[in-house]
């Protein structure tokens, strides 16, 4: 197992490097740079000022030079400063990461806590009324794009009914800021985001339950005369949940990547919107920093999922 882990880690390094090179190349190829971003029709800049920006950031240097400069700085732990506002990249990522983790983990928790038990429930009652209606609902849940759900939710619950705030993480400048108000702001966006997770986990759990319920060892357990409840909770569910763990694991990277649509609609300042800003501003240090963090996080999450899977399922052996 340890050998496997070490091999995985070693493999990950060239993957991360490859990703940073690809992203850097993409930005290089892209038309425009941060100097072009600053210019707007309404407030003119002179060509000299634009050239001065390019000089300051070294944008005219050859691409490999700039890439290696960045790598050199990163090795020393310095992610640099954003081109667009001069603030430290690491700070920006940290802040947005905290906001994103709050939002996504809330959605994931709801997804697991609601979706998995429901999947067990309908897995035991195939083709019943519950099964059909909840399965139908889960289909709806995975068919609705996040921004449609978000817009509808915003429209209905915030604009029309006024039950929830229209955006942001907490009230600012006004009234009490406490745990409840923060949670109040979190409810709508996390519910919107969790819809997809609830639907997905419910479906996979159901599917997995059906497979296991018809399997030999479960039938044997029933045949032996064990009570239904015991069979379910001691045999069926533990086996059925294994593939679902992989599915949940696939969602873990989202903790870092964010959910750009939900963040946009609910003004949640997370990683998704930061990424969009970085691309729009051709903000190379920020883009590279974010991609590095995301790559490391994604690879780490995948590794973690595989380990958990191996721990939970004694049949799995890595060598």
């Amino acid at each position: 197992m340890v050998k496997y882990l070490i091999r995985r880690l070693l493999y990950s390094i060239p993957v991360v490097i490859a990703i940073t090179i690809i992203i850097f190349a993409l930005i290089e190829i892209a038309p425009g740079d941060v100097a072009d971003y600053f210019v707007s029709g309404e407030v003119e800049m002179s060509p000299e000022a634009m050239q001065a920006i390019r000089d300051r950031y070294g944008l005219d240097q050859p691409a490999p030079v700039r890439y290696f400069n960045w790598v050199g700085a990163v090795i020393q732990g310095d992610l640099g400063y954003r081109y667009t506002d001069g603030r430290p990249v690491a700070e920006a990522i940290q802040r947005r990461l905290r906001a994103t983790i709050t939002l996504i983990s809330a959605a994931l928790v709801i997804g697991v806590v609601v979706g998995v038990p429901l999947g067990v429930f309908i897995g035991l009652r195939q083709y019943s009324a519950w099964d059909i209606s909840l399965t139908g609902f889960s289909f709806l849940g995975i068919s609705m794009p996040a921004f449609v759900t978000g817009i509808l939710a915003l429209y209905l619950f915030s604009i029309q009914l006024g039950w929830f705030p229209s955006g942001g993480m907490r009230p600012i400048g006004r009234g009490e800021v406490g745990l409840w108000t923060s949670v109040h702001h979190l409810i709508l966006p996390s519910l919107v985001l969790s819809l997809n997770y609830v639907a997905t986990y419910m479906r996979y759990m159901r599917f997995s339950m059906l497979e296991v319920v018809h399997s030999d060892y479960v039938r044997t357990a029933r045949g032996k005369g064990l009570a239904d409840g015991r069979v379910t909770w001691r045999h069926t569910v533990p086996n059925a949940i294994l593939p679902v763990i992989t599915i949940i694991g696939v969602s873990i990277p989202n903790l870092v990547v964010g959910a750009v649509f939900t963040e946009t609609i609910f003004s949640w300042p997370g990683m998704g919107t930061l990424y969009l800003e970085a691309v729009r501003g051709r903000d190379v240090p920020l883009l590279m920093g974010m991609n590095l963090v995301i790559a490391v996080a994604v690879l780490g999450a995948n590794l973690l999922t595989d380990i958990v899977y191996a721990v939970v399922d004694p049949r799995i052996r890595y060598d």
Binding site: G41, V43, E44, P88, T273, R280
Partner: protein
Amino acid sequence: MSRKLLTLLMVLAVLSTLMVASVGAQDEAGGGGTLVGAFDVGPGGAPQVIPYFDTAGRDWLSKIWSPLISWDETMSGLVPEIAVEWTSNDDATVWTFELREGVLWHDGEALTADDVVFSLNLALDPEAVTSFPTLSQLQREAVLSVTALDELTVEIELDAPRPRLPFFMIFLWILPEHELADINPAEYQNLDWFFTNPIGTGPFMHDEFEDDQFWALVPNPDYFRGAPKLDRLVNRYFADETAAVLALEAGEIDFTYASGDVALGLADEFDLYDGPSGVTNYFIFNLRNPALADVRVRQAMLYAIDREAISETILEGTAEVVPCISPFPAMWPEEYNDYAYDPDMARELLAEAGWDSSQTVEVMTYYDSQFHLDAMAAQQAFLADVGVNIVPVSQDVPTYNSYFYTGEGWDISYRGIGVNVGNFPFTFYVSGGWDTVDGLPLAGEEFPELVELLEAAQAEADPDAYLGLLQDICAFQNEIALEGYMWTAVRFGVGSPDLRDFHWFPAAGGGPYLSNAHLWYVEE
């Protein structure tokens, strides 16, 4: 004992009354409540900018720092800020600025001419500031020297006559030399000082800042125009306008910018603050394309598009048709061609010019707001009606700018430009203004008559004669339909009805203009 005690008690009583009275007097600064606004939403805003890196967002910056000179409340003239008087020598190569007496920094230090000298040198330092928009037109080489003649007088010597130098000084934020003298200019942009402990001379002082969330200020009791009435002024950042407007409606904030269609819908419950945007929306034709070099084709396009109808309907009456690049009527000549909607005339001219109606022309733009997309859809329909097929192409800002200024890669572009008396886009119409591939002006052709007028205007010191020359330029542009001038829009700010003595103006880049923030207060 009793007499001494009585005297003592009386003295104490008087003293305490005085103390209470003085404390009470200090409390006159404040008591106006907390005002939360989305000051950096909209085209004039830019969240979290610092002085000299402000291509926009100057409205908020002017709450903390003061420029040397400022626009007045309605962007129609200049008013004193740190400088109270400015004069030049006969050929406008040496300017002298008299500074205001008694201006104090937020930390209590006195402002002197050294601060102004320091700020201008920093602004022009090639190591430090690199995105100084309009002042950068001044160019480092143009300023020969900046000297403090005495405590409150600054002299600037230039390499060539600059009659309108004061208009550049609007963008000169005065920074404290005693705080920043030792910084490394190359690290200026990365200074944390601006967000942790900024010192300015503006009506408000720094209180609290949280990245991506808000910036809160408290009143500066020593502000040179008077102590502010508000207890707290907060600028809250929003990802987009819709979020800000929703917050306004929910009562979470007191003010935001809103685009015309949205603002008009809020007129019943909120107060609208409107003003001319000072931005002209227009088609710029690339005259390198022989079809567009024909004046008849350009005029035909103006006749073909019913600009009045678009202004009335799509832009809901918030726009005014313009005859040339300047959006202000003061800069228009007495008589001009209004190119009133006439599709038959358009077809005639196109036929005369031999326009090939099977070709499609791309119109590049960076606009992505619904307003502009709708307007472009209408333009497309009108032009298609007379046989001109355009295809709007929306791109993001860096992509657009990466090729636009080279003069190639586009035939027509729909864009906006901010123009006012102090800021005319000369560089667009003369060779060498931008680094185009063929060295010609941006649009591809140089008109000697126009260049003559432009050069005369740049050198003209007399304001009336200057305005007259601008009108002549306008007439020239209008006559040959040099560009496809569409309209200039009114822009809106929307505020809570509880605001009193509040002022907001849609200044390009946020101004800076006189908003008199020290007079604002919120009615409970």
